[in-house]
Amino acid sequence: MRVPTRQVYWNIPGHEWMYALFVVLLAVLAWGIWQRASLWRLGRPARRLDQPGRRLAEMNRQVILQARLLRDALSGPMHLLLSWGFVVLFLGTVVVFLKADLGLPVMQGPFYLYFQSLTLDLFGALALIATAVAAWRRYLERLPRLSRTVQDWVILALFALILLTGFVLEGLRIEVTRDPWGLWSPVGYLFGRLFASFLSVGAMRLLHRGLWWFHLVIAFAFLGLIPFSKMFHILLAPLNVYMRSLEPKGELPPMDVEAAAEAGEHLGAAELTDFSWKQLFDLDACTECGRCEAVCPAHAVGKALDPKYVVLNLREHLHAEGPSLLALAARARSAAENGPAEGEGEAVSHLVGPVIDPEALWACTTCRACMEACPVFIEHVPTIVQMRRYQVMELADYPATMQEALTSLEERGHPFRGSTASRLDWAEGLEVPLLSRLGGAEGLDYVLWVGCSAAFDERNQRIARALATLLQRAGVRFAILGDEERCTGDPARRMGNEFLFQMTARENVDLLRRYGVRRILTLCPHCYNTFRNEYPRFGGEYEVVHHSQLLRELLASGRLRVTRPSLLETTYHDPCYLGRYNDEYEAPRAVLGAVAGGGLREMERNRNHAFCCGAGGGRMWAEEAPSQRVNRERARQALATGARRVGTACPFCMTMLEDGIKSETGGDGSVEVRDLAEIVEEATRPAS
C-alpha cells in the first residue's frame, strides 16, 4: 500500500517566487515591529519579568485556554476558534515548509491523514464559522462595544477570504489529482465536488493556479498588517498577559514623591515619557474589543469617560508624537555627552487636555471593572490615576468639590468638609472603650477602625452603632481610636494626591504602632483595602478583617444567634473595594443567607461583574449631573430584582444607593437599603 501524502506545490510552476514575497513580508514585519517597539523605550523602567512560573501559569490560562474571554458565551468561543484556527493552520504551513524546504519526511502516513488533513480541515471550518459569528456580532447585531472602522472590515474580510480560498484550493487539487485520501479533508473535498460539478478539469487546473497566488498574497498581506493594526495583539496579547502586574490588585503603584521632585521629574504623568514602558506596551496591546467600555459605569451613564478610548487616544498620541520624542531624547543624550547645549526650552506635550478630556479623567470611580474585563490585562486605573497625580500635585487643577475634600482631609483629618459631627457621636451611650484609655491593644480581639464615613455621615453612624452593638453582643473584645482616628488617605490616593496619602499613611502607621495594634476590623472596604494592600509598604502589617467576614464567623460559631430571621427578599450590592479589589464575594452572601429568611436575589451584574455605586475614586465628593448619576443606574438594577431590601457592606455604597433608591422610587419607602451589620443586628436581637 502507498504511504498517504500529497505533492507539495502541485500545479504551481515558479512557486519559488513565493520566497521573494516572503522576504518582503519578513522585512515589512521586522520594520513594523521595530517601529512600534522602539517607542516603548520612551517609557520609564518597570519590573515585569520576575516570577516566570507564576506568569507562565496565568498566561496559559488566559492565552491557551482563554478563560477571561470565555466569560462571554458567544464572543468567547468565537475568539477561541478563530485564534486556535489561526495557530493550527499556521502549524500546518510550518509542516509544509519542513517537508518542502528542509526535506523532512513529516508530511506522510497517519500524521498526514490525522493532522495535516483532518485536523487542519476541521479547525479551518470552525474558524470560518467563527468568522461568520464575528461578522454577525459586529455588523448585524452591532454590539456597541465594537467599532466599525475600515480596518475592522478589511481584517475580517481578509480572514474569511484566506480560509475560503484555502478550502477551494484543497478541493480543486483533490478533484484534479483524484487524491485517494481526499475524504480525509472533508470540507475541502466538498468544495472540490462543488467545483467539479460545473468546471472542466482544465478549468479547475487554471483556477487552482490563479487562486493559489491570490491566497498567498492575501495571507501575506494579513500577516504584514499585524504590526500596523489591532491584529498586533496576536503577538502582544500573550506578552502583555505574561507581563501583567503581580502586585496586590488593591495597591496603586507607589511613587517616591520627594525623590521625583528633587530629580526634577514630573509628579505623575504629564506626558508620555512619564509612563513606564509597560504602560506604553499596554497601549499597543489593546485589541479594541471594547469589553472595558461595555462594563464601565461612567460610560454607561453617558459621561465623557470611555476606558477603551483612554487607551486608544493615548495610543494614537504615542504613534503620532513618539518618533519626535525619541529624536528629542536622542538629542538630549548627545547633548549630555557633549556638555550642555544651548538652553533648549523643554516643551511638555501634555496628555490631559489635548489627548485625554479632563472630564473623562475625573469621571473614573476606579471601580476596576474595565481591568477585570480586559482580556489582555491592560491596566487602566493606574494609568488614569497617574495622570490625576500630575493634575493634582503639580497643577492643582481639579474639581473644586474634590479640592475641598482633600483640604479638609489635610486640615481636619477627614474629607467630609462641613460635617458638624465629631468622631465619637455615633458611639453615644454605647460605652465603647477608647484605645487611649486602655493604653494599648493588648488583650483585644480587634481594634475597630470606624472610618470617616461612618463617623461623620449621620446616616452611616447607624452602621457603626449596629456593628459595635453586635460586637458587644457576641463578646468580642474591641476598642476604637476615637478622635485619634484619621482618614486612611484612600480618597487622596485615588484622587491623585499621592503626597497627602503618604503623609497620612505614615502618621497612621505610627499611631497604630504606638498602640501595638495588630488586628484591625473595618466596616469600610476602602479602609480595609488600604490597610491590607497599601500600608504594608509603609511598614504597617496588620491582620485586617472586614465586618462581613467577622459576622460570618460569629454567626457560624453561634456567638451570634438569629432570633428573628428577616423575611424581606434581599439583593446584595458588591462594593468594588471588597469584591473586585479583594475577592471577597462570599462572606457577605453567607451572612445574608444566615439571617435573611426571605432569600437572596442576585442582580444581573454581581460579584466581579458588579456595577459600581459611583462613589469610588473620589467621586463621592464630586458634583454630578442628575442625568449622569451612576448610583441611580445601580439603584434601577437593584429594583429590577424585585427585592424589597438592598444589602451592602460599605458606607459609601450606602450613601449612593440610598440616594439612588430614593430618587428612583420617589422616596416611597418601598425598598430599604441596609448595611449587613444593621440587618444582622436586627435579626440577632435578644428576645426580651
Binding site: A261, E411, S422, N497, F499
Partner: protein
Amino acid sequence: MPERADFLHGGLRMRLVVGLKYILDPEIPPRDFRIDEEARRPVQGRASLVISPFDENALELALQMKDRDPATQVVALSAGPASSEEALRKALSLRVDEAVRVETDPLGEPDGEQTALLLARAVQRLGGDILLVGRQAGDWDRGQTGPIAAEILGWPCVTAVSRIEAADGRLRLRHEGPDGLEVVEATPPLVLTVTNDEANQLRIPKARDILATRSKQVGRLSLDDLGLSPEAVPPRSEVTRLYVPVEEHQCEWIEGDDAEAKARALADRLMALKVL
C-alpha cells in the same frame, strides 16, 4: 529698608503684606468645642488650627495680583506664637515671596489693638504698599485689626473688599456694603480688609511647592526689632468672662380635638405667656 515701590510712576510693582491669623478651626464640631472658663479661652483639644477664613481670602487676592503681574511681591505676616509659623509655611507653599512672624510670646494673646500695632510696625519695617487682612478673625470676630492698623499707619482703609482690579495706575476695589456692591477707586498706600467671595477662595498648594518650602525660612521679628517693649503695648481690652451660653428648650403640647380647638388653645397659651 527695602525700596518703596514706585507705584504711580513705575507701573504696578507693588509689595503687598497679608496678615494671617492662625486660629482654632471654626468648623470644629459643636460637641467638641470646650472653653476653659478659668483661663477665659477656648481649649484646643484635638481640633486643628487653620488660617482664619477671611485672611485666606486676603491672601488669595494678593496672590491673584501677583498672578497678573509677577513683579508684585507678597509678604505673609503673622503676629502670634510659634505655632503660627504653620500658617506662614502654608503661605510659602503658595509661593509668597516672604513669610515673617512677629513674636508675640511676651504679650500672651494680643487683642485686636495690640495686633494692629504689631502689624503696622512690621509693615513699616518690612516695607509695603498695601496691607491686607481679613475683615474679622474667625475666632473672636472683632474686626478691629485692619482699621486700627490703618490709623497707626496713617493710611486710608477700605473695608469688606472682595475683588481688586488694577486700572490706570489706580486700584478698583469692590466693597461689599450693607446695601449692595460699591466700586471704590484708590491708590496705595492702603489698608484693605477683605471679605469672602466665590472668586477669592484660597487656592490649594501644589505638592511640589510644599516640598520646596521645606528649605525656606520663616523670618522672625521680635518686639525689640519693632522698637516696642511689652510695657509699650498694653492690652486695651480684657475678657472678663467667657462661657458657652446654655440654651434651654421647653416643649409643651397644645391639646385640642380639632384644628380650631388647637388654635384657640394655642392663642390662649401665647397670651398667657405674654407673647401676643
